[in-house]
Amino acid sequence: MEENFRVKIADFEGPLDLLLNLIEKRKMHISQVSLAQVADGYVNYLKNQENQSMELMANFIMVASTLMLIKSLALLPGLQLSEEEKESVSDLEDRLKRLQRVRDLSRHLKERFGKDIIFGREEGSAPVIVFSPTREITLPGLFEAVKRLLNNLPTKEIIPQTIIKKVISLEEVISDLAERVSRALKMSFGDFVKDKKDKVNIIVSFLGMLELVKQGAINIEQKAHFAEIEMENKSVGVPRY
């Protein structure tokens, strides 16, 4: 997806759909390895979305945080994950596999739906009409029923508070993860993202940093700020992120 930044988020049905597409595009199986590989593509994709609703982005960002875990783990096998983190990693894998299976199976429905329809009897084959009211049908009874009906009218969906809370705590997750990575690497991530308000940008920065580690571009002995590390390295140059 890196090749096409103009693809809109609305073209995908949520984060799992996007991830599955990224993996299938590369003809890979669902695994931690393939997930780590498509993590950058996924986050890049998120970065190029504008004017999206909070709820929509929240779903995507939650998955992004799990992808960061997976990528960190792929690059730093020694990184300790909490039980909850381990679970979110295997959870993501399971959900993708299930979604993939559903998608494969859905072709059976697609092939059949509306093709050889089974018909019930034609309308109008109803029995003879006899006026037969019931004792429920009184003015007060009907008034009660219409009140109930009005109460049950669907309302616009409100974003569940839990999702918002999870997204807000994402920053903590990142800084916590960054701290653990940097302890391992003896460097600081905090200053690097201090002027970045956008959560997606923080994720991008983090993945960028991991990428630099992978490419051996960061001098892990250095205790300075990220910017200085970056300048020290001529081969990689300024991160594209």
Partner: protein, 190 residues
């Protein structure tokens, strides 16, 4: 699939009698073939719950006469049973807001209403007619019998008629917006 089975399917589907020449046309076979398959079908159905009824050129399927008593009993029982919450709500919607098309009723209730509408029709509580604005669909309204039963002359006499009508009407005009969201979610084919 045998010609006999095809004829059976058509006769089952059609609510009214079908002529032999209609069958000839729909199935693109000769009158003789239709006649012989009808004979065969008649023979095969002889012991069953559904039989062929033939009058001159016209054929139809009907229940076996031996089942008459049980069917009468079921009809009576069905008609004496209470409507239940869902049917009562649908009826109320039609009284307050009618005439309404089925799509509108389904939309307000959030579920498919075809069975309930059929039931209300059979009980003579509502009636339907072809929608003048869209000839492909029916609109449903309360019967005069129902209004009389309620002791009112016109729907405007219902409690809080104006207020309630307005609330539902507001909801229905919002329909466009919600439907767009639905089709966005539903409409992406790849």
């Amino acid at each position: 699939m045998s010609l006999e089975a095809k004829i059976e399917a058509i006769l089952f589907y059609k609510a009214e009698a079908v002529t032999v020449s209609q069958l000839v046309k729909w199935l693109s076979v000769s009158t003789e073939e239709i006649e012989s398959s009808l004979n065969q079908l008649g023979g095969n159905l002889a012991e069953r719950g559904v039989r062929i009824i033939r009058q001159g050129e016209e054929v139809m399927l009907g229940t076996a006469s031996e089942a008459g008593a049980i069917i009468e009993q079921i009809t009576k029982e069905e008609l004496s049973r209470d409507l239940g919450k869902a049917a009562l709500e649908t009826l109320t919607l039609i009284i307050y807001e009618g005439p309404l098309a089925r799509a509108e009723i389904d939309y307000v209730r959030g579920v498919n209403s075809s069975f309930i509408l059929r039931h209300l029709l059979v009980r003579g509580l509502i009636e339907r007619e072809i929608d003048k604005k869209d000839a492909r669909r029916f609109i449903y309204r309360p019967t005069l019998d129902l209004l009389r039963h309620l002791g009112i002359e016109k729907v405007e006499d219902l409690p809080e008629f104006e207020t309630i009508k307005k609330q539902v009407a507001n909801f229905l005009t919002e329909q466009v917006l919600v439907n767009i969201e639905q089709s966005n979610e539903d409409g992406t084919e790849n």
